[in-house]
């Protein structure tokens, strides 16, 4: 049986996407790249990093709005733009916020580089956890461990074990480490605070500063 589909416009092209899929899934299927941080296939979408925002409108005009493509399901007749000026402006600012708080996390560096950021206007911090929640979802959804969770609120939010002790349900499977973006060796290119070199996005050849040798894809989880 043919799966049910809906028709939508994606970056100007009329496409048919499977009903129930998200905009992100549909876009990737058609080779359109939308950067993500807190999204991982086979884990439930979280919608926390907001980097995957797209501009959504309806056929026949009306107001458009931004929403995360990882949580927004395709609907009949929606018009989606993944690279409109409004999206780019928002994504650039999000990348700047992200890299300013975690300049030594590879995925933050990657997204900043890809958005063409060369200077960060905020004071740099050095957080290692970007609160993407991948480890928590990995633990509870794939490993059935439920050993991790968020504690605190707002700027004091952090990933924590229940009462800061390892529960019996944690089998030390290291699933959390496996998905953690902070565990990827970062680019050593950021030397001066606030300055991003962005060499990897400009050179034809792979610069020798890329630790993973994954020049061009930035991160395996974020395929172009």
């Amino acid at each position: 049986m043919k799966p049910k589909t809906v028709n939508l416009t994606l970056d100007g092209a009329l496409i048919e996407a499977e009903k129930g899929s998200t905009i992100l899934q549909a876009a990737r299927q058609f080779g359109i790249h939308i950067p993500t941080v807190c999204y991982l296939e086979n884990l439930s979408p979280y919608g926390g990093c907001r980097v995957c925002v797209v501009e959504i409108g309806h056929n026949g005009g009306g107001k458009t709005f931004l929403d995360t493509s990882c949580t927004h399901e395709v609907r009949e007749g929606i018009v989606v733009q993944t690279k409109s000026p409004r999206v780019i402006r928002a994504r650039r600012m999000l990348a700047e916020l992200l890299v300013a708080s975690a300049p030594n996390v590879k995925i933050a560096q990657d997204i900043a580089a890809r958005m063409g950021l060369l200077r960060v206007r905020f004071p740099m911090e050095d957080q290692r956890c970007i609160l993407c929640g991948l480890c928590i979802r990995m633990c509870s959804e794939q490993m059935d461990g439920r050993a991790l969770g968020f504690a605190g609120r707002g700027v004091t939010k952090r990933v924590s074990l229940p009462f800061e002790t390892r529960p019996e349900t944690c089998r030390l499977c290291r699933g959390c480490d496996y998905v953690c973006p902070g565990m990827v060796a970062p680019c050593p290119g950021i030397k001066e605070p606030g300055e991003l070199c962005g060499r990897c996005t400009r050179l034809e050849e792979m610069p020798n500063c890329c630790p993973t040798g994954t020049f061009g894809c930035f991160c395996e989880r974020n395929p172009l």
């Binding site: 919608g47 990093c49 949580t71 399901e73 916020l97 609120r153 939010k157």
Partner: protein, 617 residues
């Protein structure tokens, strides 16, 4: 207590209550609202109980401990019926005189009456007080007439008649049509048409359905939902039962923060009394409707006022919002259709059912119907809860009801809508207050907070305050709200510290727009409003901080300098005594001066100086 099985039972009970309460010659009502509690109304009430017992008035005088009457500035408020005498600022020591003079001999105690600020005349009855004159108290009216812990009081004034009418004479569709025709819009802030929401919930497939009352009010300076639930919980319950009947819900929740203990207690009492008399539970009034209400206590997180975060909190999860592509009326609590309304919205329902949609839509403007309760606070003479028809101007609220600014200063702006709203400057005070016109000027109705600010307020400081508030209340789930607000706070902090530069405002604006655009929930989406509206109307003030390193309102301490006017100083030495850092030098009877390097800029010298010789630059 009896059980109400039919509409006739309700009527009969009402007649009996009226007959029974008719034996009292005098009714003394002490306001038991939160504001009056702070002024010590409980002591007054206890003293009255004792005095009534001692004087043997128990069969003659009924003492009522009512809900908030709104005029919180003048608490504790005591009214005496049937004469309709309105006493304000009543203290324990006034109680014997009230009983011996007013109750026994009918004499009015002049010194307890309210003095009109303009005419300087003493006012005897409540309706002549200028604070109440321009108001149209429809929802709040009964707060002062009933004791919230007694369901009999509510039945006596015609309570649960709307429910009887709805169950006996109307079909669910008729109720929804009536609410739609009334044009009621959600009072929680967004102003979504209630009837359409209800229709969506009724039509949504799924069972069971839920209704929720949102009493997680957390805006600084706003307390109207709290006062309604404290003062008239049965009104909310009645609205919820009518709504449950219209939408086919089986279970209701009142989500109230545990920081509102009186509201929790009174709502709990009302629910248990309603259960006892059969107004909640199985087969309500013989109509076959089964419905019950529970209280869900929140931990006091601001973000839990957002519908999806509130639902997560009731489910026992962390109060964090989720993506709202599928609305909660389709998929809400435990994935079932859920209708969530604000306290005030529910409170309007019984009146719409009983008096009809035409009556309701006769009040207000074309697109915003009915009345709205505002909590008028800040630097005005008469603070308190005001209920006004939609479309009244800000000027009327602030100057006619609020009595204008305190101590003769000029009013600079009014902040509406709490942390999600914005500041409206004084030149726009002719603006009619309704959902759309407030949004148009960059603020919003919100749940109804109204903070009046006079000329001594620094708008950069106000913007900073709200950003810091939201930064602390942000759940931290999404990046723009968590990091963006932190950065906005840093930039504003820099500006008030005199470290702002030419780029600061540009960056602040850009960041604010992105935070509004990309945040996950309503908290983040509206969080930049205070900053954006302040920038829109008070940009020169921001620029003064950055370019001239001066705070025009003399609030931001790093940017101001204290000095003593050599001509004005009498050399009394009062400032020397209060100065915590010994920064004031000078002989007695000689003009003093301030040593800048020691000055802590606390302002104590300015407060104490009788000659107004301390200047701030």
């Amino acid at each position: 207590m009896r059980r109400i099985r039919t509409v006739f039972d309700l009527e009969k009970w009402k007649r009996e209550i009226i007959a029974k309460q008719g034996q009292y010659e005098t009714e003394i009502s002490v306001c038991g609202g939160t504001g009056c509690h702070a002024y010590g109304c409980k002591k007054v009430k206890n003293e009255l109980v004792k005095a009534i017992r001692k004087n043997g008035y128990r069969s003659k005088v009924r003492l009522k401990f009512t809900g908030c009457r709104g005029f919180c500035e003048r608490g504790p408020i005591v009214t005496i019926q049937p004469q309709g005498i309105f006493y304000q600022r009543v203290q324990e020591k006034d109680v014997p005189a009230i009983l011996s003079e007013t109750v026994a001999q009918g004499r009015v105690l002049e010194y307890l009456l309210y003095e009109d600020a303009v005419t300087k005349r003493k006012v005897t009855s409540e309706k002549d007080v200028s604070f109440y004159q321009k108001q149209q108290r429809v929802v709040l009216e009964n707060n002062g007439l009933i004791e919230p812990t007694k369901i009999e009081d509510y039945i006596r004034i015609g309570g649960y008649q709307a429910l009887a009418k709805a169950l006996g004479e109307m079909t669910p569709d008729q109720i929804i049509d009536e609410v739609k025709a009334a044009g009621l819009r959600g009072r929680g802030g967004a102003g979504f048409p209630t009837g359409i929401k209800w229709e969506g919930c009724r039509k949504a497939p799924g069972f069971p359905k839920y209704v929720i009352c949102n009493c997680d009010e957390g805006d600084p300076g706003a307390y109207m939902d709290r006062s309604l639930l404290e003062g008239n919980p049965n009104l909310i319950l009645e609205g919820m039962i009518v709504g449950a009947y219209a939408m086919g819900a089986k279970q209701g929740f009142i989500y109230v923060r545990h920081e509102y203990p009186l509201a929790c207690r009174n709502a709990e009492t009302a629910i248990s009394q309603a259960r006892k008399v059969g107004l909640l539970g199985q087969n309500i009034m013989g109509s076959g409707l089964d419905f019950d209400v529970e209280i869900a206590q929140g931990g006091g997180a601001f973000v839990c006022g957002e519908s999806t975060a509130l639902i997560a909190s009731i489910e026992g999860k962390v109060g964090e919002p989720r993506s709202k592509q599928t609305h909660t009326v389709i998929q809400g609590l435990w994935g079932k259709p859920t209708n969530l309304n604000n306290v005030e919205t529910w409170a309007n329902i019984p009146m719409i059912i009983q008096q009809g949609s035409q009556w309701f839509s006769s009040m207000g403007t074309e697109k915003s119907k009915g009345t709205k309760i505002f909590s008028l606070v800040g630097q005005v003479k008469n603070t308190g809860l005001v209920e006004v028809p939609m479309g009244i101007t800000l000027k009327e609220i602030i100057f006619d009801i609020g009595g204008g600014p305190q101590n003769g200063k000029r009013i600079k702006a009014v902040q509406t809508g709490g942390p999600s709203g914005g500041c409206i400057p004084a030149p726009l005070f002719d603006l009619p207050v309704d959902f759309d016109s407030l949004t148009q000027v960059g603020s919003m109705m919100g749940s109804g907070g109204m903070i009046v600010m006079e000329e001594g307020t620094c708008m950069v400081d106000v913007a900073k305050y709200f950003v810091h508030f939201l930064q602390e209340e942000s759940c931290g789930k999404c990046l723009p709200c968590r990091e963006g607000l932190k950065r906005m706070g840093e930039i504003l902090e820099g500006i008030t510290d005199g470290q702002g530069n030419g780029e600061s405002l540009f960056l602040l604006e850009e960041l604010a727009q992105v935070v509004a655009d990309t945040s996950l929930c309503g908290l983040g989406k509206t969080a930049p409003n205070p900053v954006l509206s302040a920038l829109r109307y008070f940009r020169p003030e921001f620029e003064a901080h950055i370019e001239q390193k001066k705070c025009p309102a003399a609030v931001c301490t790093p940017l101001i300098k204290y000095a003593i006017s050599q001509g004005g100083c009498t050399g009394c030495g009062a400032c020397q005594k209060v100065c915590p850092t010994q920064a004031i030098a000078g002989e007695r009877k000689q003009p003093h001066r301030i040593l800048a390097e020691l000055c802590g800029k606390c302002g104590s010298c300015r407060d104490i100086c009788k000659a107004n010789a301390v200047l701030v630059q």
